[in-house]
Symmetry: C2
Subunit: 347 residues, 2 copies
Amino acid sequence: MNCARPNRASKQMSRSTIKDIAKALNLSVSSVSRALRDSYEIGEETKKKVLEYAQSVNYRPNPIALGLKERRSHSICVIVPEIANNFFSEVINGIDRAAYSKGYNVFIFQSFEDGVRELQCIEHGIDRHVDGFIISLSGATGTYGHLDVLKEEGIPTVYFDRVPPFDQVDKVVVDNFEGSYNGIKYLIGLGKKRIAHISNPLNLSITKERHAGYLACLQDHGIEVDENLIQFCGFDPAEAHQTIQEMIAHHKPDAFFINSDRLTLNSLRAIKENQHLLNTSIEIVGFTNFKHVGLFNPPMIPIRQPAEAIGAKTVELLIEKIEAKRHVREPATYTLKTTLATNSMVS
Amino acid sequence: MNCARPNRASKQMSRSTIKDIAKALNLSVSSVSRALRDSYEIGEETKKKVLEYAQSVNYRPNPIALGLKERRSHSICVIVPEIANNFFSEVINGIDRAAYSKGYNVFIFQSFEDGVRELQCIEHGIDRHVDGFIISLSGATGTYGHLDVLKEEGIPTVYFDRVPPFDQVDKVVVDNFEGSYNGIKYLIGLGKKRIAHISNPLNLSITKERHAGYLACLQDHGIEVDENLIQFCGFDPAEAHQTIQEMIAHHKPDAFFINSDRLTLNSLRAIKENQHLLNTSIEIVGFTNFKHVGLFNPPMIPIRQPAEAIGAKTVELLIEKIEAKRHVREPATYTLKTTLATNSMVS
DNA sequence: ACATTTCCTGACAACGATTGCGTAAATTTT
DNA sequence: AAAATTTACGCAATCGTTGTCAGGAAATGT
């Protein structure tokens, strides 16, 4: 008897709304809304009718309308320097899986190592009413003022890997110091004495920690630090080539320790290209999450970060913060362990 | 003289809205809206006042409210099987850059090679009123019914790389046939006669095309096809190991041709692990966009896809469709060329 | 001096969904 | 039987923005 409109259901020109359902069933929008949310003030019979009809027209609530009304969007925003990176793409995987299983949608933005762009990403997220942020900072800027909005507006945020240097935020990191330390220890164990350190510029916390691990391990083993063996280098392959070439030609290292994922691959290539200048065998240890390091020649030992676990942990912390009704836990830093994959064929 | 509220501007508890500006300037919301959109029906003086105040409180229009009102969101949705993949992450880079420069926002979703999840991604995009889709299909399903929504609702869509087998859609692909063909030709030129073909299952168009290129080139050079040398293999490393081991042990290939990015890396590893079973030197050609193939041992020649260019092209086509007022161009397929990087140290 | 045009601005509805409040009918209580 | 309560639903406001329509004031034309 109710004047349903079969043409709406079949053709479905555009998404059917709560209003369409109301009209079709001769109900008010509020009743339909409440029926769908299983409110106690709607009769069982009506509820069933609504639910069935909604099903039949494949009704899905409009998240935009919802986002406008409520203050939240059931989605989180991930900002990374770049996606085309072994480590970050793995972390994103972890985030995506974890968030999905909790019913959250994930928006992924790239800062392209640019602080301005990073701020734009944050603003985009805020404008779209995301419930929280997961951020790994761009390396270009040494300033953190653009992160203040997040604090001021009280938007739940978790940082990972490249974290800001202040305390009152949640962070998920790895023990970079230990990772470095163990890598250097391994090299020393092989009898290496002149371990070159190829590092990114020190404006990121992780870089500093890794650098510190290098220094500490040398000192602990009574090896004097030779400043000539420490070189800083950006992400440009040509720059890596130049740096490595000079290092090999002038400072005769017997091993390399390399500081970050992208730099490791660039450097390895530069080492290969300059192999003819070497007269000793060389050992290489470097941070990288590339899965098939075992294929490399010259061979190298990777220091791996548990990327998926890091992603999963950030989501866990973030959602905890988002859904915390009251008593907000104190911000804390969660530290996971790196792995020195000395037998890299088995990973 | 206008009763502005400095506390709003400084504290900025939450985003300031058009309504706040109206209140502060003693105007109506509609006037403010028009002033901001530079409407001709607002006095110069008022316009200036509004613009300045908006600037001072860092006003940004709320895209959610806008998306609700209008039918569009100035954003596009990218769906790929997975991000943690050399090729896809590079394409995403291209997409992101191109879209950004045209003022579009990019949402990135992963289907995880799952057709159901792929549909969910599409629905998410639709629900969020994205203006268009850029999709590379998941490999798991051989059905395409879940793409019908896009057609029915007339949402601009461009497919790339893994495209559906029907005609009335825009596609950006590479010449897979030629890519394979040239790869095989190179191997034949080296004197290879028993070229093993490791391929993904044939349910994707790109796989079929690459397979066809392999067959055609052998035939053109008078080499009989040995079915034993053709093996199909999924994305699991253990499966690749098994496949390669059997191939080497039983069928004595003198070269390998591998069909897809991920499979290439898995297979290369398997080949390395079984190298002791080989008594001849082996040559390897495979599709991959990994940047540092020159580091690999055993060495291999990569067939590369112009990933960033593919991304840029998809965006160009999509935005053209989105912004087309009338006369919609006929759907077409755009084919870019692969590169056989025979000197892979220089890339 | 009066009618008409131009210029500027405000009120209101709409987009889709939720929610507090109001209320008629049905049911229970006294 | 009257009063109180419960049940089941509708109305209207709200979120931020745009667009349609209407209207007041000033400027122009007769």
